[in-house]
Subunit: 380 residues, 2 copies
């Protein structure tokens, strides 16, 4: 069976885009990915488009805008894992022999959908009593502090790191480095989380061109990287979590990805993980087995997760620094992996990286087990 190669990537600036919509952003990212791959757009055989809030036939509009109407096209939704799911489905189309050249796009224009924070559905009884996304992650932070002795200052080092990385990323929503004091003095959102602990409401899109062995041999121009694994699992949205500080869903998904890629967590050189809140980065890297349970805050303090550290985490700036346009996020993570592996990450380049991992996790606020989790492993 063929391997899956990523041979072109594109991404809009993440941030506020008042003069364009999710179609425009998706089309721009797609056109950039086509140009980056250096291929004739007519080689593309099918497309997968991930988004959450952009309405019916979103992907069809993007294809029409770039002159590719007519292709097989599937819109996929998996909450914050929507874009990552689009990549996974594109990889299955290639592995099934259905197509040789497939594009995955993730897009979201969030600022036109939400004024300020994402508001839960009014029919959601848990949200009505405060179990919103920030509320739940705040509880998880409090529990993690109690269990593992993490200090509020240690937690603040995560937004400090991610916004420092974002300051080196010309496409990031936020371009200004911050200090621990900035985090601690920012507006309270849900105790102990403050504004700088939270990912912002962002517009943006990203796209990747994927190819079979056969197509990559002809068209990759030696610039392709391998999608060694693209794994997906779902979790219940309705049952009680077994733990506030451990993510069995993240681990189950990662385990499948490690097995598919034939590696272990110790082989991962760097990671983009779903830091929707500062505490989420802690829970994710530990759930992925990249750091031991309870050890990550001190590892961050020692600089181990910095771009020049032992295992850089969120070199792009992550959701907190780069921004979080739901559908765009999972695809943009893979764009970052590819740019890092190609040595095209500019001022935030990681030296000597061969294996990158991307992790998304999304769903309703209700139930810590979330709803959709993806892990992708990209190798040189």
């Amino acid at each position: 069976m063929t391997q899956v190669h990523i041979t072109g990537v594109g991404m809009t600036r993440f941030g506020k885009h008042p003069d364009s919509d999710a179609t425009d952003l998706g089309a721009a990212a797609l056109l950039e990915a086509i140009a980056d791959a250096g291929i004739d757009a007519r080689l593309i055989e099918s497309a997968y488009v991930g988004h959450v809030f952009q309405g019916m036939v979103m992907g069809q509009r993007i294809l029409a805008q770039v002159g590719l109407a007519g292709l097989p096209l599937v819109n996929v939704e998996n909450a914050c894992s929507s874009g990552a799911t689009a990549i996974r489905e594109a990889s299955l189309a290639i592995r099934a022999g259905e197509n040789d050249v497939v594009v995955a796009v993730g897009t979201e224009h969030l600022t036109s959908q939400f004024a300020g924070a994402l508001t839960p559905d009014p029919s959601d009884p848990e949200a009505a009593i405060g179990a919103t996304m920030p509320g739940i992650y705040a509880m998880r932070a409090t529990r993690y502090m109690a269990d593992h002795g993490m200090t509020r200052e240690q937690l603040a080092l995560i937004p400090v790191k991610n916004k420092a990385n974002a300051a080196q990323n010309p496409l990031a929503h936020f371009r200004k480095a911050i200090t621990v004091e900035d985090v601690l003095e920012s507006r309270a959102v849900a105790d102990p989380l403050r504004l700088h602990d939270c990912s912002p409401v962002t517009d943006g899109a990203a796209a990747v061109i994927m190819m079979s062995d056969r197509a990559a041999a002809k068209y990759a121009n030696g610039r392709g990287v391998k999608l060694a694994a693209s794994s997906l699992r779902s979790g219940s949205v309705d049952v009680e979590p077994t733990s506030m500080t451990y993510e069995p869903l993240t681990w189950a998904t990662a385990l499948d990805a490690y097995e598919k890629a034939g590696i272990g967590p110790e082989d991962v050189d760097f990671a983009e993980v779903h830091d929707c809140f500062s505490i989420a980065e802690v829970l994710r890297v530990e759930g992925l087995g990249l750091f031991e349970q309870g050890s990550y805050p001190r590892a961050v303090e020692r600089g181990e997760a910095n771009i020049d550290g032992r295992l850089p985490v969120n070199p792009s700036g992550g959701l907190i620094g780069k921004g979080h346009p739901l559908g765009g996020t999972g695809v943009a993570q893979v764009v970052e992996l590819v740019r890092q592996l190609r040595g095209e990450a500019g001022d935030r380049q990681i030296e000597g990286a061969n294996i990158g991992l991307a992790h998304c996790r999304g769903g309703k606020a209700v139930g810590i087990e979330g709803a959709a989790c993806t892990v992708q492993i990209v190798t040189r």
Copy 2:
């Protein structure tokens, strides 16, 4: 590469379900499909759920309700082809070797979303000047009458046929046969279309269990049928149609399916097609190459499309008779093909059928070329 087998089917009653939601309906259809397949539910390895208007992480709720939370799960949206797209993606997961047992579910609770007809988005400029779904199909009917001499009475024979079939289908929304006079005297919707020419606002869900060769050999119990082709194409929503009475998108999708199945339109024994309006059935069967351009109304008049005719069309009752819960429709079509091929269609059983075809087509009202088209071919 493995073939794809359908080894279990389930479907709720189509109609109004005021006391349940899209999750309940999807879960009921899934449980019935599992029981029909006669398998342990734990054999299911992944799931695809198609819907349009049911919100974020719909599929995850269904899996949680039936105790299958944790599986890889993808929500797909392709307008009225959403359910059919779920089947197509499930078939790719099997062909890719990713999974051996996959379920596809389509569900929609439309009566809780729309009071009466589906209303177009207020921002849609074409809809604002009357280019709604009924308006566009009315124009296509008028054009077809002018081009091919179809009479209003001939057009009425399609709802008469489909509602007669639905009267034999215990799961159909409408169970009462009607006459040509009933059609002509029903309320005007968009001239020349009247109420009986239109598919209703329906709640409902359907599910199919699909297996690889390996799994089918162990678990199909000799009751499996083959999904010989599952094809998908998209069309522009923004460009002018080249013709009001011919559907190049339907033909392009069908051609791909015929090639995959190794058959031609002359080999098809019966079909379920997307009769969202009476005229739509005409355009579809001709676009699929099942009847010659301009010939279908007279063929219906001769009884050729009846259950005992040369090529039965919409034996289930179709969208007009059985109902049209958007996401549920494409999966329910395949349920009907399977039941017919197994000889389990009761009073509406077609004799000696070996090859069935299902066609969906959906998208915005704007642009006759629609947005998503699927053709599936199921064989004994």
